[in-house]
């Protein structure tokens, strides 16, 4: 549906307009991630970094839902926005989001669709690697941070996965149709 160009000469003008009007769907995954980055700047003033990495979860989920619409370069650009929004060194989330998107894409291309419990475990691994990577890359950027407080974020990120997957599923069904059933 997305990405396939319809036989243009067989479309009448109304159908062509409909085709062009449907193009906003290409931006849906990126918009979801941007919205979640914005949510992550919410004024929740707690002493430890407890807010889940919603943007990472959303990228993970969109790479498996719509691999064509969440390529690693797009994850990179979204990561740059996240870096600006969270006052991190430019390139931190960009590198990690792109790495996450690339690795998940590779895994899904090799092994196909997996049941949700398996994906949840996969999220746990990706999030752990993300926090470790962030710890190392912050040191690379010359702003070393202590590792233990990042454990809080790891826990909340893993716990928030079902919520984000439900959200992305709603968005997916609304914008791309009902999926396999029906």
């Amino acid at each position: 549906m997305i990405g396939e160009i319809p036989p243009w000469r067989l479309l009448d003008p109304a159908e062509r307009r409909q085709y062009w009007r449907g193009q906003w769907r290409l931006a849906v995954p990126a918009m979801t991630v941007l919205a979640l980055i914005f949510v992550m700047t919410a004024p929740l003033l707690v002493p430890v970094p407890v807010f889940p990495q919603l943007a990472l979860l959303a990228i993970f989920i969109w790479v498996s839902f719509q691999p064509g619409l969440m390529p690693p370069w797009l994850a990179f650009l979204l990561g740059l926005v996240a870096d600006l929004a969270f006052a991190q060194p430019l390139g931190l989330d960009a590198t990690l989001f792109a790495l996450a998107a690339a690795s998940v894409r590779l895994f899904d291309a090799r092994h196909g669709y997996q049941p949700q419990l398996f994906e949840w475990r996969q999220v746990a691994i990706v999030a752990t690697l993300f926090e470790l990577g962030a710890w190392q890359l912050m040191a690379l950027a010359g702003q070393p941070i202590p590792l233990p407080p990042l454990g809080w974020q790891l826990l909340t990120t893993i716990a928030a996965y079902p919520l984000v997957v439900a959200l992305c599923a709603v968005v997916q069904r609304r914008s791309f149709g009902r999926g396999l059933v029906g």
């Binding site: 004024p43 600006l84 929004a85 060194p89 390139g91 962030a134 010359g142 202590p146």
Partner: protein, 318 residues
């Protein structure tokens, strides 16, 4: 079928392979670019200041409108913790009050003596200057940096590296500035280092953020006195950003490294003062080089050579 479909499949496959190859190359390039950007950030941490300013200008207005529910949550939590243990706290406060009254009388006498001494010694101190009072709008609690957004920016005279002071004590310093908003590096950020004095012992030290709820006390110098839980810390004025005497926190664990509970939290609808830097770094004029008075030989002058530009053989030590 009047054409042969055989060739089509292989060309489609080739196209797919090419696309996959391009994708892999782009991915690799993008990741390499990210790492290079991190290295740039290491060399130049203040890069992309304009972009960051635009970003916080986008974020701040929205959260300054949508913040009501979050304020409510914060106040409810504070209210609940107020009720728990109210009696024991009242008893403790009464005891503190008695001690404080005696302390206050001594302090009044000291203040008088200090004013006289200052007059005698003609001490001149830079004054504190308020730039703007603003409200804390938002904070990142899910990332590597502990910062808050303040609804006042370059339009109100805010610049990077200014002290941000709350009602109860120090909040942090400004790091990024947009047109209508600024970002404050909180005390709890791992990059935050506050020069402090321990009030009881007079030792100087650094209060360092840990990305957790408590700060750490490091690099303590001064009289060899052990710390006690409950020792108060105030800013020392070293470094020229924070004015001296602003409460920073209280020591909760005296074991090395000592743990500090911050005096002020940015929780709730907190208004903060953004002040001018206490003692901004003086603008050093470019050193003027001594004039080169080496005589030019007569032969050279005749052939049109001018006196050489003033270039000292050795760099001038500052």
């Amino acid at each position: 079928m009047d054409w042969t479909p055989g060739n089509r499949r292989s060309s489609a496959m080739r196209r797919e392979q090419n696309l996959a190859l391009i994708g892999a190359v782009v991915t690799g390039a993008v990741i390499a670019a990210g790492l290079i950007m991190l290295l740039f950030a290491r060399v130049n941490p203040d890069g992309a200041a304009r972009l960051r300013g635009v970003m916080i200008d986008l974020l701040t207005p929205v959260w300054s409108v949508v913040r009501a529910p979050f304020d409510g949550i914060g106040r409810a939590v504070a209210l609940g913790s107020d009720y728990i243990g109210a009696v024991s706290r009242a008893e403790r406060l009464e005891a503190d009050l008695a001690a404080a009254r005696a302390e206050l009388q001594r302090a009044a006498a000291d203040r008088l003596a200090l004013a006289q001494l200052r007059r005698i010694a003609a001490v001149r101190e830079p004054g504190r200057r308020l730039i703007v009072t603003a409200r804390i709008v938002s904070a990142t609690s899910g990332s590597m940096a502990r910062t808050a957004l303040v609804a006042a920016g370059a339009g109100s005279g805010v610049a990077p590296n200014l002290p941000v002071i709350g009602a109860d004590g120090l909040i942090g310093r400004t790091v990024e500035v947009g047109r209508w908003s600024a970002r404050v590096l909180l005390l709890t950020d791992p990059a935050s280092r506050i020069p402090v004095t321990i009030v009881r012992t007079g030792q100087a030290a650094l209060a360092v953020g840990t990305n957790g709820p408590r700060l750490e006390l490091r690099d303590r110098v001064g009289p060899d006195l052990p710390l006690q839980a409950g020792d108060r810390l105030v800013t020392s004025g070293d470094g020229g950003v924070f004015p001296p005497g602003i409460p920073v926190g209280t020591i909760v664990t005296a074991a090395e490294p000592a743990r500090i509970r911050a005096a002020a939290t940015p929780v709730g609808a907190a208004y903060v003062r953004i002040e001018a830097a206490w003692l901004p770094l003086p603008v050093t004029p470019e050193p003027t080089l001594p004039e080169n008075t080496t005589p030019v030989p007569a032969e050279a002058r005749r052939s049109g050579a001018r006196a050489p530009a003033a270039t000292p053989a050795t760099p001038i030590a500052r």
